[in-house]
Every structure is written in C-alpha cells, then in structure tokens.
C-alpha cells in the first residue's frame, strides 16, 4: 500500500509525467538527455528522477560515470489491474444488463 501511495504521488505531477513520456518515446536516457529542451533546471529534473526511481517507475543503471534511466511501467500496470480494469468490468456489466433489458422490451 505504501508503495502504491508513492506511485500515485509520483504520477501527480505534470513534469514527472513528462519525463515518463520522454522515456517512453526513447528508453534509456542520461540526465543530460532528459534535461534537453526542458524548461526545468538540472536540479529539478534530478529531484523528479529520484522520486520516480523511489516509486519504481524509473530504473537507473550505472554506465561508467553516467546513469542511464529506463521507464519501468510495471507499477502502472499494477494500478491499471487494481484500479481501472475492475471498474471497466463493472461498466461492461452495466452495459450488458442495459442491452439485455432493452432487448427484452422489444419482445
């Protein structure tokens, strides 16, 4: 549960979501690459990356003197399965029941 809080907290920020989008477009980037064309300071990006890493949304691997950052979408899949798919199923069931009720009316 604590871990899930961290994921939601990490996602609750537009700059951090933008970093994730950039990694989705091109996986495996250095801090320098992630700072390019961003209206954020290097320090801000570093801070965001630390939070993303702690939430498990970014995995960093050391390569020589640099750290390469990768998108780890597993926690997002977990949220999807735990929070979204369940509600979708309810909706599908509701639609299914509605359809049946309407079709029965026709008879």
């Amino acid at each position: 549960v604590q871990r899930e809080d961290k994921v939601f907290k990490a996602l609750a920020d537009a700059s951090r979501r933008r970093i994730l989008d950039r990694l989705r477009e091109k996986n495996g980037q250095t801090l320098g690459e992630l700072c390019e064309d961003q209206d954020m300071t290097r320090q801000a990006v570093t801070k965001h990356l630390a939070l993303l890493e702690e939430a498990g949304l970014v995995v960093a691997v050391r390569k020589g003197r640099e750290k390469i950052h990768y998108l780890n979408a597993v926690p997002i899949s977990q949220i999807y399965m735990r929070w979204i798919r369940k509600f979708e199923r309810r909706r599908m069931e509701a639609l299914h029941n509605l359809k049946q009720a309407l079709e029965e009316d026709k008879k």
Binding site: N27, G56, Y70
Partner: protein
C-alpha cells in the same frame, strides 16, 4: 547495441524458487501468461512459447542458474532476423524477491522492441499478483493477443 535495452524491475513478496517456477513451469506460467511454454531450461537447450498452437517466440537457453539467473534468446519465428535477448535476474531482497527483466540486443528498427514494451509490464504485473495473492488473472483481457495472426 543500437537500440537501448528495456529494464523492468518488480518486487514480489515470495521466494526466488517460486519466481523461477513461475517463469519456467508450464502449469504455473499458464495461470498468468495464458500460453504454453516448453523447455528443460538447461544451458544450450531450446525453448518455445506457443499460443493457440502457434509458436510466437522461441530461442535458446544461454545461461541457466536456478533459481537466480536465466538468459535466453528471444525470436519470433515469423521474423527470424529480429532476434533479441532476455535476462531474468532473481534475487532475494529483505523479505521479498527482486525480479529484473532485461530485454536487449535488438536489431535497429526492431518490431519486437515495440511489441515487448507493452507486453512485459502486463505480464510482470500479473506474475506479482499471482504470486502474492494466489489469484490467476487474464493478463490479456481487453488487449490484442500476445501473438498469433494479426488483423
């Protein structure tokens, strides 16, 4: 290595032996990955992954150190030149297991590289749920099948 690797990490409240079994045992694996897998998982052996009687991925076992390390090549037989490599690292971490899945060595412009970036997060998420709750789920519900004929 022209296309960057993918690295997925997941912490699972279980034992390394169970994670190894979940990856290599067909019965176990069917509960979260749906499809069939076959191999003896010995170094140098072949492995294949079938869905609806069609081989979707196959390859060779490059390293096998149960229950901590498995390295395999990963090829879709319909795209024989689009091979890649998958490494499973299983490590006990406090009262949990850290599973790292590294997928790399893709050819430039690899089609497989695009496919797997949607697949692994779902598969690993289901794996975690299964091992922690004992509940199997349909990983691919609402999504196109992991392989098989494409429309």
């Amino acid at each position: 290595m022209s296309t960057p690797d993918f690295i997925y990490t997941i912490y699972i409240r279980t034992t390394p032996e169970k994670v190894w079994a979940a990856i290599t045992n067909p019965e176990f694996r069917r509960q979260y990955w749906v499809d069939d897998i076959s191999s003896d998982w010995k170094k140098g052996s072949e492995w294949q992954h079938k869905s609806h009687d069609q081989i979707c991925t196959a390859g060779k076992v490059l390293e096998s150190l149960p229950p901590t390390l498995l390295v395999i090549t990963w090829v879709d037989p319909s795209l024989p030149d689009d091979g890649s490599r998958v490494t499973f690292e299983i490590k006990a971490f406090e009262d949990m297991v850290r599973l790292n899945v590294v997928h790399g060595d893709f050819k430039p412009g690899s089609i497989m590289a695009k496919k797997i970036s949607e697949g692994w997060p779902r598969v690993l998420s289901s794996l975690k749920t299964l091992l922690e709750s004992g509940r199997a789920l349909n990983t691919w519900a609402g999504f196109e099948p992991s392989c098989g004929p494409r429309s």
